[in-house]
């Protein structure tokens, strides 16, 4: 993708191309996603048609080069896209983020040309989505303790184990799986593998009944003597943990963007209601208590947004961005839960019923503080980077 000389002024006003791209995603979210988001949530429906349409717009593979079928844009553009899509529907934003950052991301960075053509190109059109399997029933934050195993048998890898909490699992056509070839090496024994779905030896657990992002499917992936060709290893042996961590670094910017979209939707809902609802003879927007809430919500969203954009711009400039990405994810997810909480408060009783989207934003926001690194892990990452910078 063309390298954009993004400067400090870009934080104040985005370049024209990014503005256009943000507008087209916003138009799509307003017209095609927001009207159906409630139904998708209520009926736990995967937005297959919308994912197709987003694929044909290039949104399912924003950073992928054009030769491989992607939009050939930068990570800032991707962050903008995920935020706008999530503002319409938090679940759809999640699907977009997982496909772009967690599935395509590692293959784009660590795959061979052949692997990219086989495992990325068909996943750019929205017809197929991928997923990412790192967590297990026994370990989430403690990723190095992965117990899923991979042993070599002739010209195949044989995978055994169970992965947990895998987003998109029931709708995916491929998965990036992390498994250990040598438990004695601990995290240095983990490698990454590409497995098509469906596939013999791979089965799915029951769909989890979640609090929010209910249009996405989340389930265990069970590997029982699942055989794949040797060429399906992604990256070099033992590089799996590093691949996972680097993938999550980028993925955090995607989740931060999803959280921003949800936070903004909650804020917009509350601000709109403040104009319309009257109490004590005037619109409630005239009351300082409501004004203070709206102001706090706006500051939370805007500051998290600038952190997110900065992390994306650092990544695009190929500078280190681990600390900033963690800060963005932490700030944005906490902004999402804060804004959606306050939004319900502004709406009062109306915020508690499904007639208004506030309750859905509240439920959708909650996961952003948990997946792709809990808020606690983000704090460890940030502190770790800070202390490294400040070491005597």
């Amino acid at each position: 993708c063309p390298s954009l000389e993004l400067s400090f002024s870009s934080l104040a006003e985005l370049p024209e191309m990014h503005q256009m791209m943000r507008q087209t995603c916003r138009d799509y979210a307003d017209r095609e996603l927001a009207p159906i988001a409630g139904k998708l949530d209520k009926e736990h429906l995967f937005p297959a048609q919308q994912v197709h349409e987003l694929g044909s717009m290039g949104v399912m593979a924003v950073e992928v080069p054009e030769e491989l079928g992607g939009a050939g844009m930068d990570y800032l553009a991707y962050a903008l896209a995920v935020e706008e899509i999530s503002r319409g529907c938090g679940s759809t934003g999640c699907v977009v983020s997982v496909n772009n950052s967690l599935y395509i991301g590692p293959i784009l960075k660590f795959g061979t040309q052949e692997q990219k053509e086989q495992w990325i190109t068909p996943f750019t059109t929205g017809e197929k989505v991928g997923c990412f399997a790192l967590s297990e029933p026994g370990n989430g934050s403690d990723a190095g303790a992965a117990s899923t195993s991979a042993r070599q048998e002739g010209d195949e890898w044989v995978l055994n184990g169970t992965k947990a909490w895998i987003t998109n699992s029931w709708d995916a056509s491929a998965v990036v799986v992390f498994a250990s070839t040598d438990k004695s090496l601990k995290h240095k024994g983990i490698s990454a593998f590409l497995v098509p779905m469906p596939h013999p030896g791979l089965s799915l657990g029951k769909k989890e009944d979640k609090l929010g992002i209910r249009a996405t499917s989340t389930a265990n992936i069970i590997l029982d003597d699942c055989r794949i060709p040797l060429g399906n290893m992604l990256g070099s042996p033992g590089a799996g943990f590093k691949i996972a961590m680097q993938t999550l670094d980028s993925g955090r910017i995607g989740i931060a963007s999803q959280a921003l979209g949800i936070a903004q939707a909650a804020l917009d809902c509350a601000a709109d209601y403040a104009h319309k609802r009257t109490a004590f003879g005037a619109p409630i927007g005239k009351l300082q208590a409501v004004q203070f809430k709206l102001a706090d919500m706006a500051v939370a969203v805007e500051s998290a947004r600038l952190l997110t954009w900065k992390a994306a711009m650092l990544k695009d400039a190929k500078k280190p961005f681990t600390k900033e990405a963690a800060m963005a994810k932490l700030a944005a997810s906490e902004a999402a839960t804060f804004c959606s909480h306050q939004s319900i408060q502004v709406l009062g009783g109306m915020g508690y019923v499904t007639d208004m989207p506030a309750e859905r934003h509240y439920r959708d926001a909650r996961i952003t503080e948990i997946y792709e690194g809990t808020s606690e892990i983000q704090r460890l990452v940030i502190a770790g980077q800070l202390l490294k910078e400040n070491a005597p």
Partner: protein, 253 residues
């Protein structure tokens, strides 16, 4: 030359609540969200579809206005137009720019670009004039197919199904011709991300009305702009007889 000219107008976004300026000279436009006129989007979509069917070689998007008009042209390019022409009109000239001047500009460009077809939106959502297409055709002495809900090219003729009060009217007109797009003509595509990237490289030529020999002095003066009167509450009646009595009472019937 099988070229289509499409006119696109930058207007206040349809979702914005328009407010009248305190001095009643016009509406507030500063800091207000603007976008492409919805009927112009439909016109662009139709032009791009005709080119994709290989019926035309090139689609040129034209907009008249200040510097920001290039944003609207860029959107048209991102939807698939090949190049753009920005006819620069600024300040007081822009405030008084209306259908007659714009149609003179389009007529001049249609001749200069040797266009076979000029497609415009049927009207703009800010002034609701519904005149530019008709005036452009008259100035060029070209046939016109207005309020199009269907457009089909048949050789060197255009078959247009028009939405009229009585229903649908089908006409066949010779090219070169002017067509104006109505709501049901098509559903405009979303600008895809790859096309937004490609639009960056497409050319937008810049010119002034004087370069086309067009005089844009307005013959109209806007005296005053007011908000529509606030709707008063109605009255509920129980029976049809009551309704008739009330209507007679108010002098309506």
């Amino acid at each position: 030359m099988s070229r289509v000219l499409v006119g696109v107008k930058r207007v206040i976004d349809y979702a914005v609540k328009v407010r009248v300026k305190p001095d009643h000279s016009g509406v507030v436009t500063d800091g207000v969200k603007h976008s492409m006129n919805p009927f112009c989007e439909i016109a662009v979509e139709e032009a791009v579809k005709l080119k994709e069917k290989k019926l035309f070689k090139e689609v040129v998007a034209v907009s008249c206005g200040p510097a920001q008009a290039t944003e609207t042209i860029r959107t048209a390019l991102a939807m698939g137009c090949d190049r753009g022409i920005h006819v620069e009109v600024t300040g007081k000239d822009y405030e008084s720019l209306g259908p007659l001047q714009v149609s003179k500009i389009f007529a001049a460009l249609a001749k200069k670009e040797e266009a076979s077809l000029v497609i415009l939106g049927k009207q703009a959502i800010d002034d609701d004039c519904n005149q530019t297409g008709q005036m452009t055709a008259a100035l060029l002495d070209w046939p016109q197919g207005t309020f199009a809900s269907e457009v089909e090219i048949e050789g060197d003729k255009v078959k247009v199904v028009r939405e009229i009060d009585g229903g649908l009217e089908t006409i066949k007109i010779n090219m070169p011709a002017v067509v104006t797009a109505d709501l049901r003509l098509n559903t405009p595509r979303y600008a895809t991300l790859p096309n937004i990237m490609k639009a960056k490289k497409k050319k937008i030529a810049n010119m002034k009305p004087a370069d086309l020999g067009v005089d844009i002095v307005s013959r109209l003066e806007v005296l005053r702009v007011d908000e529509p009167p606030t709707r008063l509450a109605g009255v509920k009646v129980e029976t049809v007889d009551d309704l008739v009595a009330k209507l007679k009472e108010s002098g309506t019937i």
